[in-house]
Amino acid sequence: MTAISKPLDSRPAPSLPFRTRLAMFIRMLAIQGAWNYESLLGNGIGFCTEPALRLLPGGVRGPAFHAALARESRYFNAHPYLAAVAVGALARAELDGEPPERIERFRTALCGPLGSVGDRLVWAGWLPFCSLASLMIFGLGGDTLAVVGFFLVTYNLGHFALRIWGLNTGWNHGLRVAVALGNPVLRHGPQQIGRLAAVATGVAIPLALGRVIGPGRSLIGVELIAVALGSILIVRLHGRIEGWRLSLVVLAVFVLISVIR
């Protein structure tokens, strides 16, 4: 991923000390620590850019630091992983001494794309794919280490790569980072992952069913037909009740019947 992020800014990216970069990266793991319905991710962006802002003239006691930190801690919304792009780009813009109104406009413009791209790529793509692939391994008879290990390693390879790429890309491109969002992985990734996840769904569901139910096939055929009908029902009920709530109600009724009768 990093190979694609050639700097487009006419100025070469200044070097960011390794300790500062590491501090920013670690803080990015906690970017949603103070998430709230008013400033959303805003305080997290301030929290993550703060190690870089210390490099402003005058350090942490200087007026430039306070003005920049106040600006960066205001309302912001993005996908938490792709917010790394914003953290890198905003830190670079502040250290480059860009005019405050330009930074404000840039922050506003960045919210939408970083939210929608991240949601499609990660929440609706990579996460379900990794989840279904680990269920597939479970269905094939994998032990706890294989199933859980596969899920955590695979998912977090993508997760950490995206955060590292985001921080580097944001820092290297500064206010011109929008061009980097045309990266093929971000544009075509959700479609490709969607196809892989569709295959994984088909393989994982019958295998996982078979493993949980246990040996013997007498019930599997009936069960698969029931699952197909149940899935159609869930799709038809979309927008009226969520599947997990429906499951809660149906299971509660089933428990009552099983215990009382």
Partner: protein
């Protein structure tokens, strides 16, 4: 159940509840991981994995999109995993009650997350002037307070849910009348139906996805019946 037994579960539930949103979002809070960890803490990780797989199928539907309200699976899966794993012989109804306990906890957990977000907003409001002045201490403390509160939220939720639901599950298992295998079929059938519906919603707009799904299903059924 003693306090000594409850404390490790509460800590685990707190850490995994924290992962859902606040830190570090490595998805250790997903049911397939969290329920296995809950089961492992009770001495039976494989039981935890079994119920974790069923819960993971249901959790496929609920993805943490932005400001939407969604169930909190981290702490809830620890509760479900621990309840199921505390019955190592897997008696009739144990899985059903474990899944139901996790679903009930995840519902309450989603509500507690909304309350936490409102509390974060109150704390941010109290520091508005300091934040507008770019006070470093306020930015950092707000972040740390939010994460600490989230950790406590998850721990308390896990402890209360397990303490309340585990005895109820024990009583219900003793009175359970439906065949063990049929009970499992119903639970996992419901879970797989939710997963099927969720997968359709997620991928139906992807070009060619239905054919990829059919191909996958053919492979899955072939392996299932050949195994």
């Amino acid at each position: 159940m003693t306090l000594i037994e409850l404390i490790p579960l509460a800590i685990l539930g707190g850490v995994l509840g924290l992962d859902v949103v606040s830190f570090p979002q490595m998805m250790i809070s997903r049911p397939i991981v969290a329920a296995t960890a809950g089961g492992a803490l009770t001495g039976h990780p494989m039981n935890g994995l079994l119920i974790g797989a069923a819960l993971e199928l249901i959790a496929l539907e609920t993805l943490p999109f932005g400001a939407s309200r969604y169930p909190e699976w981290g702490s809830a899966s620890v509760v479900g995993g621990a309840i199921f794993a505390s019955h190592p012989s897997q008696p009739s109804g144990a899985m059903t009650l474990g899944v139901l306990s996790a679903l009930a906890t995840t519902w309450v957990g989603g509500w507690t997350m909304v309350k936490l977000r409102q509390l974060n907003a109150v704390w941010a409001g109290q520091r508005r002037d300091a934040l507008e002045a770019g006070a470093r201490g306020s930015v950092v403390s707000l972040q740390l307070m939010g994460m600490t509160a989230d950790l406590l939220r998850g721990s308390l939720l896990t402890a209360i849910a397990f303490a309340a639901l585990a005895p109820l599950a024990n009583v219900s298992i003793n009175s359970w009348t439906v065949d063990s295998r049929l009970s499992r079929c119903i639970v996992v059938g419901i879970a797989a139906s939710v997963a099927g519906g969720a997968a359709w919603k997620l991928f139906h707009s992807t070009l060619g996805a239905r054919w990829f799904f059919v191909g996958g299903l053919a492979i899955g059924l072939f392996v299932l019946f050949v195994k």
